[in-house]
């Protein structure tokens, strides 16, 4: 209580922007790992990807001998393995939204912007730090579920090797899809600033709009569906080319486009608005 301040000598030189960026990344990493919601969302993500993938693949293997020839010939060896990504994208989405909205709901945003007035750089550092965390967790989960599921499928001789054409790309594609969904979520959170609203918009885009688009008259329904975030993401983790999906590279470009547009809009608004 009665302790006095210990003066500290700090060189007050002008810091270069790359140095500021690295410091903000470190700060954002500290923020992420010191709240419990991060850990729970990531645990849920891992369990969704691995648990659902293994469960559904095991069910398919159990029913394999009763399948028709048509079902067997069009079989994507990764389709069931990566079923969990559809659930995991929701937990990553919520976590991405919270990266920004939790700062607004708790007033921390004022400390954040006070510590780093360079707002574009701040959002960039937030996006990069969150992306690295999602990439690491998703990649570990995707690789793990791949090997477990292929071991199960190998008993029916329909498994694939990681070295087969398109397989490694699909495994990495699954993780990249998670990162891009997470980035979109950070952008939506920055634009909307309220957790409930941002989560509602994100879930509507991922879950509800695809269903509504299917109600449009043909061929609009299928043509538009190709370019929705959910379909573009699914294209990235498919090994077999489905007629209702884009090519993997095109799917990546479409989803990347959504992420870039969302973050671009978020940056404009973050700079323009009062905190």
């Amino acid at each position: 209580m009665t302790q006095t301040l210990v003066p500290r000598s700090v060189p007050a030189g002008v810091e270069r922007l790359p140095g500021v960026f690295l410091a903000v990344c470190r700060s954002e990493w500290t923020k992420l790992r010191t709240v419990r919601s991060t850990m729970w969302a990531l645990v849920f993500t891992v369990i969704s990807i691995i648990g659902l993938g293994v469960l559904l693949t095991a069910l398919v293997v159990g029913q394999w001998d009763h399948r028709s020839l048509a079902e067997v010939t069009g079989f994507d060896p990764l389709l069931y393995s990566y079923a969990g990504l559809n659930v995991a994208q929701l937990s990553i989405g919520v976590l991405g939204v919270l990266v920004m909205t939790s700062e607004y709901s708790t007033g921390v945003i004022r400390l954040t912007l006070g510590a780093t007035p360079q707002r574009r750089l701040l959002l960039g550092a937030k996006v990069l730090t969150f992306s690295v965390v999602v990439a690491v967790v998703s990649l570990i989960s995707c690789v793990t579920v791949f090997f477990i599921c292929q071991a199960l499928l190998a008993s029916k001789h329909v498994g694939v090797s990681i070295t087969d054409p398109g397989v490694l790309r699909a495994v990495i594609g699954g993780a990249v899809k998670m990162v891009l969904i997470g980035v979109i979520a950070v952008g939506v959170g920055t634009i909307v600033r309220h957790t409930a609203g941002a989560v509602a918009i994100l879930f509507a885009a991922l879950l509800i709009i695809p269903g509504l688009v299917q109600l449009l008259p043909a061929p609009w329904n299928n043509d538009i569906t190709l370019y929705l975030p959910s379909s573009a993401g699914a294209a990235m983790s498919a090994v077999v080319r489905f007629p209702n999906l884009l090519a993997p590279a095109s799917g990546f470009l479409v989803l990347f486009g959504y992420a870039a547009a969302t973050i671009g809009a978020a940056m404009v608004l973050l700079v323009r608005r009062d905190a």
């Binding site: 700090v10 002008v14 500021v20 700060s27 954002e28 500290t30 923020k31 007033g107 921390v108 006070g114």
Partner: protein
Amino acid sequence: MIEARNLSKRYGGTLAVDDLSFTVEAGQVTGFLGPNGSGKSTTMRMIVGLDAPTSGSVTVGGHAYGSLRFPLHEVGALLDANAAHPGRRARNHLDWIADSNQIPRTRVDEVLGVVGLGDAAHRRAGELSLGMGQRLGIAAALLGDPAVLILDEPINGLDPEGILWVRHLLRALAAEGRTVLVSSHLMTEMALTADHLIIIGRGRLLSSGPVADFIENSAGHHVKVVTPDADVLAVLLRNKGATVTVDGPQELSVQGLESQDVGILASGAGLTLYELSTQRASLEDAFMELTHEHADYKGTTQSLESSQT
């Protein structure tokens, strides 16, 4: 040093800050006073670059806040004492702020000690009392050992011991040559803490100067006289150039003459006095007088009183 020049901020149709110019000097505590809703917080948010001015400019140490890199080494601010993630531990709350401006983690332990939160460092921010939260906010402001401190209502929620501690801390920081700007709506607290006052009402500058000048120049200083011959004395006093207010059938309030002059005048005319006393205006009265017309939210005790009579 903080310099505001013709600072204005408009929210929709309301002008929250209206052409405000002032200078906050180093080495003293400057009290930033005004009724609730007078634009103190808005002004402080503009100083640290959170809100953009509609017109005008403000600089800290000669720089616009937005141009500073690692600004916490220059400016420490407490704008909202509740600004902490409730699930994050007090220590981690300071950790991320330190990281963002390359402040070494050893400094986190130092400031926790300075504000007396050393034992509560492991507690989650949501579990801290109002006063402890306030101390955590002050710790965050001190992290970068800044030359300029900006504190919005730092004694809110503090117990008497805490208030005394803040008062000593602010005085010590100013004595080290730092610039200290503290907002408050409590005039009495500022009288004890501040050297200089900037008073605003409805976003406009009402007064700026040393605390002592403010007390002396305030119009509340007057002589109270109770006499059966109030009418006669009032005429005599007015002839001497004094301003006389009739406070009751036998009571006068005199400005412009000292009590001894009033006494000599009364005895010369053979008037009886029941009471003769000098009334010193409290700072609170002076502040009320200055800001009364500028307060956005006034109580309505007058109408209550009249309805009872």
